[in-house]
Symmetry: C2
């Protein structure tokens, strides 16, 4: 990725290592954002915060450079998305702070090892669940959704609860309307007319939540990973698996 | 406590509810402090951060007032400790930010239920384990120490690992010298000449760490709970017990 040789998605790549969402904000917005994340640990499990201007995430990957080591970045100016880029050295400022936020991508391997096959599709949906506001930051929680049989959902509740830095246990199972999720209008994924027989939708808090919330306040400059193009840390998934 | 009827320690009081350390700092120091806590989750598990000037911890105890609802407070001006008080309304400012940090006091009941009797003594010790610095904040980790038989220590490792907001699993077991802990010179507890037969010392990261680190930079005004006189939240210990 640093050499520009891989610019594709990271979904199911480099199994066994924690993948994270990236949000880069000017230092002026950093305090409210970190308090927002602390108050909303399920959608926003903070794994690392860089020092202002320092592109190295010293906890998560001490030899990495957040300006070059993701396959693709999304750039937003005053809330308007510009063209994706594969390198943000020209956008990085002395007051840039990088936030790495855990991603549910990391636990798909653990689920598979426990007998829950990887989902062919993962939907991303808006809900009406409010997050806890902090300063300028507020808005509803975004979720991911996977189909599971009830037996798989039982395993998933047990297993994902052990990954608090990867959104933890589900936020909800069953009726999408109970959390205001409209399966016919997903953010990501094909519209769903009818839930297939024998499976139930299982919902996890999603790391897209803090991006959406940050965009609402139209920051002068915000850079994130491009959807599906996460940062891959040096941390093994098992290091976050609490006994 | 609010009425001044109880000004004593909270150790082993109100079992079943999460107890926390309190640190109050001016907003100017809050960003570095929250990043410090995020980088050091074992000694500094952040449970709540109040809005500047707001004395109510809206996550941990939405009807509480941090200025009156602890039994005793320690007050430090430029790093010098003043007389303890039982009410900090006169010290609270428009830019005061309250931080609630998990405490190992919360898991003693859970240990007892799992067959590990409550320790008659809990020591607090300095170590040479460095914490991860953030801005002005840096310094070594402070630990608590309990004697346990090896069988009790095995249970404690399993059980306390399920309480990540209460310092989680032990930092160390066995030889105190390996972490630079001097049992003859504890911060709290009687000096120990010889470890008794049949038990081993088990060490947890301690919430005194962020207080010590904050004091090093001599903040204009810092208020904390008085040692042993913690804030008792509305959160049940089991709510933090990850499956």
């Amino acid at each position: 990725m640093r050499n520009g040789e891989w610019t594709g998605p990271t979904v199911y790549k480099v199994p066994g290592f924690v993948q994270t969402n990236l949000v880069v904000l000017p230092q002026a917005d950093a305090y409210d954002f970190v308090v927002y994340c602390q108050r909303n640990p399920k959608p926003c499990p903070l794994i690392d915060i860089t020092d202002p201007g320092d592109p190295t995430p010293r906890v998560a990957a001490p030899e990495a450079d957040l300006r070059t080591d993701l396959p693709q970045y999304a750039v937003y100016r005053k809330g308007v998305r510009e063209k994706n880029v594969t390198d943000i050295r020209d956008f990085w400022r002395k007051d840039s702070v990088g936030f790495l936020i855990g991603s549910s991508l990391s636990f798909d391997d653990a689920l598979e090892k426990a007998g829950v096959p990887k989902s062919k599709d993962v939907w991303v949906l808006n809900t009406t669940i409010p997050s806890r506001p902090a300063g300028k930051f507020k808005g509803p929680v975004v979720v991911t959704m996977r189909w599971m049989t009830p037996a798989q959902a039982v395993i998933a509740c047990q297993l994902t609860g052990r990954f608090p830095y990867n959104h933890g246990a589900p936020l909800h199972m069953g009726d999408p309307a109970a959390i205001g999720a409209d399966l016919e209008n997903p953010i990501v994924g094909e519209p769903v007319k009818k839930i297939p027989d024998g499976v139930m939708p299982v919902f996890w808090a999603c790391g897209v939540t803090p991006q959406r919330v940050a965009l609402e306040m139209k920051p002068e400059l915000m850079i994130t990973h491009a959807p599906g193009h996460a940062f891959i840390t040096d941390i093994r998934v098992e290091q976050f698996c609490l006994p």
